[in-house]
Assembly symmetry: C2
DNA sequence: CGTACTATTGAGCGCTCTCAAAACCAGTGG
DNA sequence: CCACTGGTTTTGAGAGCGCTCAATAGTACG
């Protein structure tokens, strides 16, 4: 009977996938009516096309955004028209958490390809969370997770060489595609080499050379933006375990 | 009369400073009884001495910690005893936000000098927040702020050269000391050159050379761990505006 | 006052950036 | 279909920043 109201994690997962809210309700024990409440505040927008903005830096904070399909790039415009890429956001991931603090967006977000995006008005989410402890906790977790992931990236940029950075990047993409049920070894890069370089703190030329090298070493098969991982184990080794050089710098 | 219950921001500030909760209640509109509730869940621990841990990576998540006096370093131990410094936490700042997500600490935290630390059991804070919307919102902001600050650091590590990194580091310390009413131009570095280098992704030798250079250029006066900023304007320029080189890499 | 640690300074090298040019691709219009 | 244009990617050659190794100097502590 309570089974009527409490749906299982699996079902929630399915329900949420349909509304692209994995990120929010995946690990929660929300009853079906709670899920309905959550869904009721979500706006579904028309598909956005390459180059369109979810929001721009400085804009008033209204909503969080969940990527349903496609991909989003967040970046901070810098002087002279240059930009600093802060992250790439794939289906199931949330964009806009940076804006809660100051109540305006500290970065800009634009879609890299035609994408379906859900919008969650934050005020209403906050109100709802106040009445649903598990949702409240989930929100804290979400924010905390973002912090942990940024710490990891931070380490990547601080201590790893070019090879390790690109390997980590590819492994990360692979794992994130995997979470959504997509292929972990065969995927499309929606961002340019330049954007990858910008994100990883490398020059475009270095990124390009590395792709060629990885291909020569039979790690990858690269055709423009299509990547096929041929040797995931070795790629993961490069990404994670290959801290030999870096750990020397760490250790003192 | 409601003045009896609602204390001004200034008073809250004072009240909170005494309990080192600036970070939590500074921008809130909590009534005095609410502040009392908040204070009631805070544990004050005995002073910790250099090298003692607040928590270690992998430990069960129990509490957040607020630095009252002294300083704390967070880091992730890596293979072979090396470590990656994730951040330095000064008085008024919060440690432990990374642990909310997985319910265990993803990094370790140890004090760099004799420090007074307050402990806030997170479960109780969460319960309290559920009944106090402004506290709930403040918690969201706190987490969001951490995300924004990490993004900034991310940019630092990705795109800036050694000089710019150290300058940014010093400016950041200066500003954070300033927030606590301490001198912005005259302060003590509680961390070693090695830890600074580790944090900034630089070799110890590079950090040392830069300190010498900054001193030669009359930017700083450095005596061991005592730093005096002689030309803050120029230091800030180095830290922030000096994106000439970096922005070339950004712009494509 | 020796031991261990931390910081400084010097010399050389390697990774990655920079500059430059060519190849490739996508879209447009003749 | 092809030429034209703007953009992206690739490839090459050289230079410089910051790392590495090594040695010295300074500091803390028993």
């Amino acid at each position: 009977m309570s089974q009527d109201k409490i749906i299982s994690f699996e079902n929630i997962r399915v329900a949420c996938r349909s509304c692209s809210l994995n990120a929010l309700c995946l690990p929660m024990g929300l009853s079906s009516e709670d899920v309905e409440k959550l869904e009721s505040i979500i706006k579904r927008s028309r598909p956005l096309h390459r180059g369109e903005h979810l929001f721009s830096g400085g804009e008033r904070f209204q909503s969080l955004f969940v990527v349903k399909t496609g991909s989003v790039k967040t970046y901070t415009p810098s002087s002279e028209g240059g930009e600093q890429v802060l992250g790439f956001h794939l289906p199931g991931e949330i964009v806009g958490l940076d804006a809660i603090d100051q109540d305006f967006h500290s970065c800009s977000a634009r879609v890299l390809e035609t994408s379906a995006i859900c919008e969650i008005p934050f005020r209403r989410l906050e109100e709802l969370a106040a009445t649903l402890p598990s949702l409240q906790h989930q929100l804290y977790r979400l924010l905390s997770k973002e912090i942990v992931e940024e710490s990891e990236l931070l380490m990547l940029l601080g201590k790893r060489n070019a090879e390790e950075r690109l390997a980590s990047f590819l492994v990360s993409l692979s794992q994130r595609f995997g979470k959504r049920g997509l292929s972990t070894t065969d995927f499309h890069l929606s961002m340019s080499r330049h954007e990858i370089g910008n994100y990883l703190g490398l020059a475009v030329e270095t990124v390009s050379r590395l792709f060629t090298r990885f291909q020569d070493e039979r790690l990858l098969d690269v055709d423009r933006k299509h990547v096929q991982v041929l040797d995931m184990a070795r790629l993961e080794t490069l990404a994670g375990v290959a801290q030999n050089r870096a750990s020397r710098r760490e250790s003192n």
